[in-house]
Each structure stands twice: as structure tokens, then as C-alpha cells.
């Protein structure tokens, strides 16, 4: 039996209403919890991209991917693991300005974690950190010693380690399969 591990599904679809629902429904039916989900227009005009992080077995995630691909408006679903991708999340932290003024610990943390300060007001300031979940979480725990009044994290975005966009290759193959006579 294969073990549960983290997978990143990279799903490309036509940009139509209700598709998110169709995709998440495949997870719901199997009682699979989505760890993170981001969606936006892809680099190819008119094609939407969903990046979904989920803990599952290889066996199950392959079935999920095929059932997602089966939806008419889904173009392709790629099953990826940490080895296949470079990925990032963005985290924002709101900290009271007073704590910044008491010593240089926060400044040190910002430098150490490669974070940056986005905005400063008399009451609070906002720090932004890009990284893996583990890193943004770690910074949160460190900053929280000085009082984090608000903390938010985005879903994952990822890019594959392949030389070109995997979807481009797929679309080219699709074109050949459907119009073999075309040059």
C-alpha cells in the first residue's frame, strides 16, 4: 500500500463558470481535504490554472486526476510532487509598531528570513514573506513573541522544473491527434 504524501495538482481548464465547483467536488466525493488552492488565468490566454495541494496516496491521486480530467472543460491535470516543482506561498504579518521600536530583534528577523516591510503606520506595520509553508510558519512563531495582531497566508503557486510548460506540449500533441492531416 502506498503511503500518504503531499501532492500538487496542476490543473488547466477552459475559463468557464462553475468549474471550481466541479473540480472540488471530485475531492469532496472521496472525502479528501484540500490543503491549499489557488486559481488564476494561466500564461496562455483563455486557459485557467488551478494549483491544489493535497495529502493522499499516489494511487488515489492518480484516480482523482483522471476524474478531474474527465470533466468536459478541464484540459489537463498534472500530478506533481515536491521533486517536480518549485513552489512558493506569500504570508503577511501585522505587528504593532511599538514592538518594532523596542530593540532590533524584529529587524533582525526580517533580514534573517528575507522578508520585507510593506507598510508602516503609527499603530502597526506589515511584513511580507515569500517561501514554503514551513518557513512562513516559522517566521510567524518568531514574530508572535512580539505580538502578531494579524497573519494571513496565500495558497501555493508552483512552476515545474521541466524545460517548457507541460501544457504546451500537451496542447501540441492534442492538435496533432485531432488534425493529423494539418501541417
Amino acid at each position: 500500500m502506498s503511503l500518504k504524501q503531499e501532492f500538487t495538482l496542476s490543473i488547466f481548464s477552459e475559463n468557464v463558470v462553475g468549474l471550481l465547483n466541479q473540480i472540488t467536488n471530485v475531492f469532496t466525493r472521496r472525502h479528501l481535504n484540500i490543503e491549499s488552492l489557488t486559481t488564476s488565468e494561466s500564461a496562455i490566454a483563455g486557459i485557467h490554472k488551478f494549483t491544489i495541494v493535497v495529502f493522499s496516496t499516489r494511487n488515489e491521486i492518480e484516480k482523482v486526476a483522471k476524474q478531474i480530467e474527465k470533466r468536459i472543460d478541464v484540459i489537463k491535470a498534472f500530478v506533481l510532487t515536491a521533486d517536480d516543482i518549485i513552489h512558493e506561498e506569500v504570508a503577511l504579518y501585522k505587528v504593532p509598531t511599538a514592538s518594532l521600536l523596542n530593540g532590533n530583534q524584529i529587524e533582525t528577523l526580517v533580514r534573517q528570513y528575507g522578508a520585507r516591510i510593506l507598510e508602516v503606520t503609527p499603530e502597526f506595520f506589515v511584513i511580507e514573506k515569500t517561501g514554503h509553508k514551513k518557513e512562513t510558519q516559522e517566521l510567524f512563531e518568531k514574530l508572535d513573541q512580539y505580538g502578531v495582531s494579524q497573519f494571513t497566508r496565500s495558497g501555493r503557486i508552483s512552476i515545474t522544473k521541466t524545460k517548457t510548460e507541460m501544457l504546451d506540449n500537451y496542447l501540441r500533441k492534442l492538435e496533432l491527434d485531432n488534425h493529423p492531416a494539418k501541417n
Partner: protein, 577 residues
């Protein structure tokens, strides 16, 4: 050759014509070759009904008595003709009543286009009168669905709907049309859809998979073919027989694969699964090769997956990639339309016969015959059995009829004991197991194949779930023959209660009405048989009757269907009693 007037017509038809959305709906149906639809009017679909009024010659509309009946009838029609069945309903309750039929069509891969009216687009999302989010509700049970809010989307949406419903692995599509889109006008031009970028209905066959499959087949000592509905949907019955006859491989069928092979063919070894035949079930774990052809390893077929096909390699010929490895691991998947893959495979395999292996099935048949079939067909007890009724009806029509069933014991008995000569002769609710399916599906089947006998086997429970469709049968004069096998019980549930719940018959006994009186109310001829001596003559009377007919046969109250693979057990543990 095209005549000049035809060419002119064609060119003319390429010119847009100004019309309402409602008329565009009707013209789109006609453009897709639809000549029969089943439906029920209501507020949000009235403009389309008004348009239908002007097309009564070209597009026949059957008024059902409940929207569930409309969808099941469209299913019956689609299953016997291979065409796309069409149902039309109003918004809100009309649409939700259609849901069961849509789910049934989804799981049994039946091509349907269901059209639902919707409240006007300014009212969407406001909890308007008879508003439901039918697109949301039917999303998991349709192959595709779409809400049309703009009148100019109608032709394209219909073209996509029909293309998706009938291509690849077929399925139901729902189009939800707002009332304002029906009223508005457009310049109508119809272009059929032949390609959708994100949709790959038929995978491209990989010749390496054929090579690998042929190799396994040529080496196998005890190969077993499992035939599913994919063969029927792919119209690959001849290709299947050519493959089987060349290789000499015994073939068993799933419930929906029934009638894809003639019952009398020597390589036809019977039904798979829970109430299937003894041989195909026990021998599954002795086979060294399983060749699954257009079937999906449903749990009613496989029983306990851990103890299924334990000694076999598996070749899976399948059009739907999501079925590969879903339940049973395929050593060699052959991802393609079986119409294409079967002949290529037949070319590559050696001529063979598996007589000894086949004889093992014959030996199983003898055991099953002695222990079960003989007693079922020739009972010594006073009470009539379902099996003997099915057997006699089969004989009365010379084994050539379209059999429609409802769901339950009678369904299994009809599948086990009716004999078939030609394909597309069975309409039954397999995956969803929808009681109430039978009567409306039989109407659709008869309208789809008016020249064939259409015989419905139905139980007293399922009959009463859609009994109102007797009104449709009366009004539309559909000569369906209804064989009501009445045991005054929900028989299949009662059987489970007897076997697994200590005979505690919780809510399974039915106090039934007088079915003949009901039939009389609908002006449908009927007869009730309680004695075996009257059975043959009564069946003949039903068959000879010109028009719809109800034959009620009072059968043994507590008859059981055997063999049986208990739920969750291995196919090897099939019970003969």
C-alpha cells in the same frame, strides 16, 4: 448525388434566420435529428412549449405524468435506438423531479439531453418562484451541463450538448434555459460541433497495448472475457463475436452487457456478479487472464476486490481513462473504442480453443442447473416462481423481445432466465438501481422500437413508484406489455432481511391495491393469474393483444434469488442456497 434543390437548401440553411430563443430550441433539436421528446410543461418552459405547438408534425412530444417518467422514457428510447434521448421539464420541482433519471443515465452511460426551463435571468439567485440551482444540483450527475442566459448561445449550446451526450462514453447533458432567453430573438444559424479542445471522447489507440494484450491472450491457459455495455454502446457486437470465436475464450456478461451476445452462443457462459451464474463467479479466481471489454468492475460484479481475480492478469479494453485502475489494476490497459481495438486485437491473436476450460464452466452449469435452475423453472410447490414466468414469456415471444425491467428480484430473474437473440434487447437500471425505472423506460423503448415486442417485468413495489405513467400509456396508446410479478413484498430487501437480518421483515410487506382496478381506470386491458394452469394461456393472450396490457402474476411470497454473492464476500464464496 446531391440534387440542385438540395444544394440550394443547404446553402439557404447556412443563412441566419431571425427567430425566438424558444423556436431556436426546437430547431436545434430538429437539426440534431430528434423527432421524439418526453416532457411536462410549466411556467419557466412555456415559451418552448408554445414553439413546440407549431412543430407537432416534425417533433412528437409525449406528455408524461411526472418528470422522472420523462427522463426514464428518454433513457428507454436511447437505450434501444442508440440515439440521444431528449426530455424537457420546467424549472424548480420540474427539474428536481428529473434528477433521479439523470443520475441513472450518468451511471449507466446513457446519452440524454435534458432541457430545463429556468426563471428569468434578472431573477437568478433571488429565490424566485420555482427557482432552483439545477446546474449546481446536477453538476455531479451530468457529463456536462450549462445554463443558457443569452439567447444567442442557444445554437452553440445545443450543438455541444448533443456532441457531448453521444460521443465517447455517452452520458446525460442538462441545458438550463432562462425564460428571457426563450422569449428573446436571435439570428439563428446551426453548426454541429465536432471538436472541443478540452474534451477527448475517444483516446488514440496505442498499438503497443494491442501487442501486449495479444501476447497475454496467446499465452493464457484459462482466459475469461467479461463483456460490458461498452460493446453495445460502441456497436461492436460483431467485432466481439469475431474475437471470441477466433480465440475460443468463454465470455460472461455484466447486467448491462446482457444481449450483446446471443444467449444460445456456446461461448456465452452467463451472467457475472451478485446474482449471476455460478461458473463465471467461481471461475473468476481460477482464470489466469481476465479480458474486460467495455465494463467497469462495478462492486456488484467483483464482490470483495481483495479476493477478486487473484490468479489472473487483467487486460482492460475501455474508452474512459478514469475507469482504468479505478477498481481493478489493469496489467494491460487498451484505451480506445472497442469497435476499433477489438478487430486489431483479433488480428494479432492466434486461433485457439479452450475446450477443457469451457468444459469446467459446463460442469458448473450442471451444478447450478440441478441445485437452482431446475427448481426455479419447474417448481413442485404450488406457488409460481418468478423464473418460471420469465421463462414462459421468453418462449411465448420466441426469445425475441426487448425486455425492460424495474429493480429487484424480478430484475435478476429476468436477466437470468430470459433468452436473447439480438443486441439492444435489455433496458434495465444497473448502476443506480432505480425502482420506478421500468414502466416509463418501457414506454420509451416501445416508441423507439415500435415493431418489436416490448415486455416489462416489474415488481409490485417498483410498479407503484411510477404507476402514474399508466396515464401516459393510455393517452399515447403505447402498446407496452406489463408483466407484474406480485409477491406483495419488497422482495429483494425481504430476501436480505431473511438471509442477513434474522428474518426481521421491517417495512417490506406491502398491502397492495387491486392492480386490475387501477388498470381499468386507465382503460388498459388486464388479467390476473394465481394458478399455474392458467399461466401459458394468459401470457399468450397478453402477447396477442393489440395494445397495452397488464398481466399480474401472483408469485410465491418468499421466493429467493440464487446463486448469490453476499455483499462484501468474494466471488468464490457464491452461495447456492
Amino acid at each position: 448525388m446531391e440534387t440542385q434543390s438540395q444544394t440550394v437548401m443547404k446553402e439557404k440553411s447556412k443563412q441566419a434566420i431571425r427567430m425566438t430563443g424558444a423556436e431556436a430550441v426546437v430547431r436545434s433539436l430538429l437539426n440534431e435529428g430528434t423527432d421524439l421528446i418526453f416532457g411536462y410543461p410549466g411556467g419557466a418552459i412555456m415559451p418552448v412549449y408554445d414553439a413546440l405547438y407549431g412543430f407537432q408534425e416534425e417533433l412528437h412530444h409525449v406528455l408524461v405524468r411526472h418528470e422522472q417518467g420523462a427522463v426514464h422514457a428518454a433513457q428507454g428510447y436511447a437505450r434501444v435506438t442508440g440515439k440521444v434521448g431528449v426530455a424537457i421539464v420546467t424549472s424548480g420541482p420540474g427539474a428536481t423531479n428529473a434528477v433521479t433519471g439523470i443520475a441513472d443515465a450518468m451511471i449507466d452511460s446513457t446519452p440524454l439531453v435534458v432541457i430545463s426551463g429556468q426563471v428569468g435571468s434578472p431573477l437568478l439567485g433571488t429565490d424566485a418562484f420555482q427557482e432552483t440551482d439545477v446546474v449546481g444540483i446536477t453538476q455531479p450527475i451530468t457529463k456536462w451541463n450549462y445554463q443558457i442566459k443569452r439567447v444567442e448561445d442557444i445554437p452553440q449550446a445545443f450543438a455541444r450538448a448533443f456532441y457531448i451526450a453521444r460521443s465517447g462514453r455517452p452520458g446525460p447533458v442538462l441545458l438550463d434555459i432562462t425564460k428571457d432567453a426563450q422569449f428573446a430573438s436571435l439570428d439563428y444559424l446551426y453548426e454541429p460541433v465536432k471538436y472541443i479542445r478540452s474534451y477527448k471522447p475517444v483516446p488514440v489507440l496505442d498499438p503497443l497495448q494491442i501487442e501486449a494484450a495479444a501476447q497475454l491472450i496467446n499465452l493464457a491457459k484459462k482466459p475469461l472475457a467479461l463483456v460490458g455495455q461498452g460493446v453495445v454502446l460502441g456497436q461492436a457486437e460483431k467485432e466481439l463475436m469475431a474475437f471470441l470465436e477466433k480465440t475460443g475464450i468463454p465470455a460472461a456478461w455484466t447486467l448491462l452487457g446482457l444481449s450483446a451476445m446471443p444467449s444460445a452462443h456456446p461461448l456465452n457462459i452467463g451472467m457475472l456478479g451478485m446474482h449471476g451464474n455460478y461458473g463465471p463467479n467461481v471461475k473468476t479466481n481460477e482464470a489466469d487472464l481476465i479480458i474486460a471489454i467495455g465494463m467497469r468492475f462495478d462492486d456488484r460484479v467483483t464482490g470483495d476486490l481483495k479476493n477478486y481475480a487473484t490468479n489472473a492478469k487483467v487486460i482492460h479494453l475501455e474508452i474512459d481513462d478514469a475507469e482504468i485502475n479505478k477498481n481493478v489494476h489493469a496489467d494491460v490497459p487498451v484505451l480506445a473504442d472497442v469497435k476499433e481495438s477489438l478487430p486489431k486485437l483479433t488480428e494479432k491473436v492466434s486461433k485457439n480453443s479452450h475446450q477443457e476450460w469451457l468444459n469446467e464452466f459446463r460442469a458448473c452449469d450442471r451444478i447450478e442447473h440441478d441445485r437452482i435452475i431446475h427448481c426455479e423453472l419447474n417448481p413442485v410447490e404450488k406457488g409460481m416462481t418468478m423464473g418460471e414466468v420469465v421463462n414462459k414469456v421468453s418462449a411465448a415471444v420466441d426469445d425475441d423481445a426487448i425486455v425492460v425491467t424495474d429493480v429487484g428480484q424480478h430484475q435478476m430473474m429476468a436477466s437470468r432466465y430470459f433468452r436473447f437473440k439480438q443486441t439492444r434487447s435489455v433496458v434495465t437500471s444497473g448502476g443506480l438501481g432505480t425502482m420506478g425505472f421500468g414502466l416509463p423506460a418501457a414506454m420509451g423503448a416501445k416508441l423507439g422500437q415500435p415493431d418489436r415486442h416490448v415486455i416489462l417485468f416489474v415488481g409490485d413495489g417498483g410498479f407503484q413508484m411510477t404507476i402514474q405513467e399508466l396515464g401516459t400509456i393510455f393517452q399515447t396508446k403505447i402498446p407496452v406489455k406489463i408483466v407484474l410479478l406480485n409477491n406483495n413484498f419488497l422482495g429483494m430487501v425481504r430476501q436480505w432481511q431473511e438471509l442477513f437480518f434474522d428474518s426481521r421483515y421491517a417495512s417490506t410487506e406491502l398491502i397492495n391495491p387491486d392492480f386490475q382496478t387501477i388498470a381499468k381506470g386507465y382503460f388498459i386491458e388486464s388479467r390476473k393469474v394465481t394458478e399455474r394452469d392458467d399461466l401459458n394461456e394468459a401470457i399468450q393472450q397478453m402477447v396477442d393483444h393489440d395494445g397495452p396490457y397488464l398481466l399480474e402474476v401472483v408469485v410465491e411470497k418468499e421466493g429467493n434469488v440464487f446463486p448469490m454473492v453476499p455483499a462484501g464476500a468474494s466471488v468464490s464464496d457464491i452461495r447456492l442456497e
